[in-house]
């Protein structure tokens, strides 16, 4: 970055976002005015009990859903009033998703799974998608598992394929929804160590979790209850996942 044209915009700026669902005749307020700003390079844990609105917030941040009211800027661009197609393009270019259930395509090789987002790139800039996918898999330590199918990989490895898929488009923001929910503590620590190392390389991460042990590995912690932010503070007793991993090994 040379000759900066001003301070870089925050990755996320959310002002007064609400979300109201209608179920039959009754209206349910899932989010009741949330303000949030996330700068580049942060690693944030979003916590809250089920029904607290954290999934709704994640869906809105992930451009899978639009807020009922309020303002959401992603990477300096308003995205709260976009059409379905525009949202799809934003997801493709700016966001990477990691899910609790991995969500890989079955009977499809790791390489082809990671290639998937590149196939939907409309800019036409992507050249050799297979090479890009291969590099992303190397980055998560699976350079030797390119042709394996999900069923031939362990849970931790599957989640790393999913992370490679999220990284392959070089997104502005990586969103993880309970990324260790289906993993044992061993694999969990491995995945969190990977997240920390990616964060060290400058990737902005937002991890939704209800597990305080996972939250420990982040830099900032926010908590929702009844659709409102009730806590937003730097993580206390922050740990390196690699240490925890080594401790578990010992």
């Amino acid at each position: 970055m040379t000759a900066a044209t001003g301070p870089a915009p925050p990755v996320i700026r959310i002002v007064g976002v609400t979300k109201v669902y209608r179920t039959g005749a009754t209206y349910v307020r899932a989010l009741g005015g949330v303000d949030l700003a996330v700068e580049s390079g942060e690693m944030i844990a979003v916590m809250g009990a089920s029904g607290s609105g954290k999934s709704t917030l994640l869906n809105i941040i992930g451009c899978l859903d639009t807020p009922t009211s309020g303002r959401y800027e992603l990477d300096g661009r308003r995205v709260d009033r976009l059409s379905r197609n525009e949202l799809a393009d934003v997801r493709n270019r700016k966001l990477g998703f990691v899910f609790q259930g991995f969500n890989l395509l079955a009977r499809t090789s790791a390489l082809e799974n990671v290639e998937l987002p590149l196939l939907y790139d409309r800019s036409g800039r992507r050249g050799d998608t297979a090479a890009l996918a291969g590099r992303a898999l190397e980055r998560v330590g699976l350079g030797n598992r390119l042709s394996h199918q999900p069923s031939e990989l362990s849970g931790g490895q599957q989640q790393r394929v999913a992370i490679a898929r999220a990284l392959v488009t070089h997104p502005t923001l990586l969103l993880a929804d309970e990324p260790t929910g289906n993993l044992d503590s061993h694999a969990s620590a491995e995945i969190m160590a990977l997240f920390q190392s990616l964060n060290d390389q400058g990737i902005t991460l937002l991890v939704v979790t209800h597990d305080p042990n996972v939250a420990q590995f982040t830099k900032r912690l926010i908590e929702l209850r009844d659709g409102r932010l009730i806590r937003d503070e730097p993580t206390r007793d922050r740990r390196r996942a690699m240490d925890a991993h080594l401790a578990a090994m010992a």
Partner: protein, 405 residues
């Protein structure tokens, strides 16, 4: 997504369920094969009929005695067979659009000579008959104008007659007896085959019509007058002209209807093809119903597939696929299935038609347009019946789809 990738992705997901894909395709395979088979049989029959009618002669116009029915009442009863040799002469003399005119007297008689005896049609014709019917001699010559003028007792044998009376020798120069009159054989006609109605055209003896009238039947009325127009474009004009000449010759008043019937080759072909055409259309229509049933099979399976793969659709939407991408993917899948099925059906239909032709001796033929229509139609079936499931997939909500299990 680029086209090659679309097809690759579609092929990939179809391969994951090979058995189901094959069974779904089977509907289209059977549908297209059935259509091709019926078209092949129908088209083959029609091509054969057309060929046979065309083999009757060049730019042929046939005049037969008797009027066509008018308002359901035949007016020809009293005027039956008023065609005469004079009519033919007048046509040959006055016509400007004809390249040939020949009367045809018709009788049947026992032919004695050579290896024994044989009963066949004896037709009295003029020299022009040979060119009108486009019927060259294989051996010897046709009779000459001199023969005609002098009413000489000469005959030209059809192939069937020659084969039966002279199985081992050249009949040219030999004698046969027709109604106890000795005739010298001057030539043998080349084989002509069957008519559209199955009659053997080669079972005939041609003699000069003058001789036939003087020596054989004695009748002055004749069964047919054959006229050939100068060119295919002249046929309508020639028909008008010969009607005018014949009406004058028969002294018909303006309000009287024709006492003869004029038909050209396409009339004959149409009349002969009428029934086959209706039959083959009917068969093809029944066959295409199975194509529609095959299409419904595709729709059914695609709907199941969309439900089964809801999560996959969710994943694709989450990583940035647009609704149109998902729509295209599922459409391509159904089109690949129907198109592949169509191609296999096409091959199957061809093989079936060839086998049927081989076993039954029917002539079968498929016009190239039938291949194109079959392939295009099966692709269309894929689009038509794939549209609804694909649209359903494209309109899924990504959040709901990701939560689906």
């Amino acid at each position: 997504m680029r086209a090659s990738r679309l097809v690759r992705v579609a092929a990939q997901s179809l391969r994951r369920n090979t058995m189901r894909t094959l069974l779904t395709m089977l509907g289209i395979v059977i549908g297209v094969a059935a259509v091709i088979l019926t078209v092949a049989v129908g088209y083959g029959a029609q091509a054969r009929i057309r060929e046979q009618v065309l083999s009757l002669g060049t730019n042929l116009i046939v005049i037969t005695p008797g009027a066509v029915a008018q308002a359901g009442v035949s007016l020809g009863a009293q005027t039956f067979n008023r065609l005469t040799v004079n009519d033919a002469d007048k046509l040959a003399r006055e016509g400007t659009t004809f390249s040939g005119v020949s009367p045809v007297t018709m009788t049947r008689a026992q032919i004695v000579g050579g290896a024994g005896n044989w009963r066949a049609a004896i037709n009295g014709v003029s020299i022009a008959y040979q060119t009108i019917r486009d019927w060259p001699v294989q051996e010897g010559t046709f009779f000459s104008t001199d023969d005609l003028r002098a009413r000489r007792k000469v005959a030209v044998l059809g192939q069937t007659v020659a084969d039966n009376l002279f199985p081992d020798m050249n009949p040219v120069g030999q004698q046969v007896r027709l109604r106890n009159e000795p005739f010298t054989i001057v030539g043998v006609l080349s084989p002509k085959g069957q008519t559209a109605s199955g009659a053997d055209q080669d079972d005939v003896v041609l003699v000069p019509y003058t001789t036939a009238q003087a020596r054989l039947s004695g009748a002055t009325f004749i069964g047919q007058i054959l006229v050939s127009a100068a060119s295919p474009a002249d046929i309508p004009a020639a028909q008008d002209e010969l009607r005018a000449i014949l009406r004058e010759s028969h002294r018909l008043a303006k309000d009287e209807s024709d006492d003869f019937t004029v038909r050209n080759q396409s009339d004959l072909a149409q009349a002969a093809q009428g029934t086959t055409q209706v039959m083959s259309l009917l068969l093809a229509a029944i066959a295409s119903i199975s194509l529609v049933v095959g299409g419904i099979g595709i729709m059914n399976i695609m709907l199941v597939s969309v439900t089964e793969r809801t999560r996959e659709i969710g994943i694709r939407l989450a990583v940035g696929a647009r609704g149109s991408d998902v729509l295209t993917q599922f459409l391509v899948e159904s089109v690949v299935m129907s198109l592949f099925g169509g191609l296999i059906g096409l091959a199957g239909g061809f093989a079936g038609a060839a086998l049927l032709g081989h076993l039954t001796g029917w002539s079968t033929a498929t016009p190239p347009s039938a291949w194109l229509i079959a392939v295009a139609f099966s692709a269309l079936v894929g689009v038509f019946f794939g549209w609804y499931p694909a649209r359903k997939a494209a309109h899924l909500d990504p959040i709901e789809a990701l939560r689906h299990d």
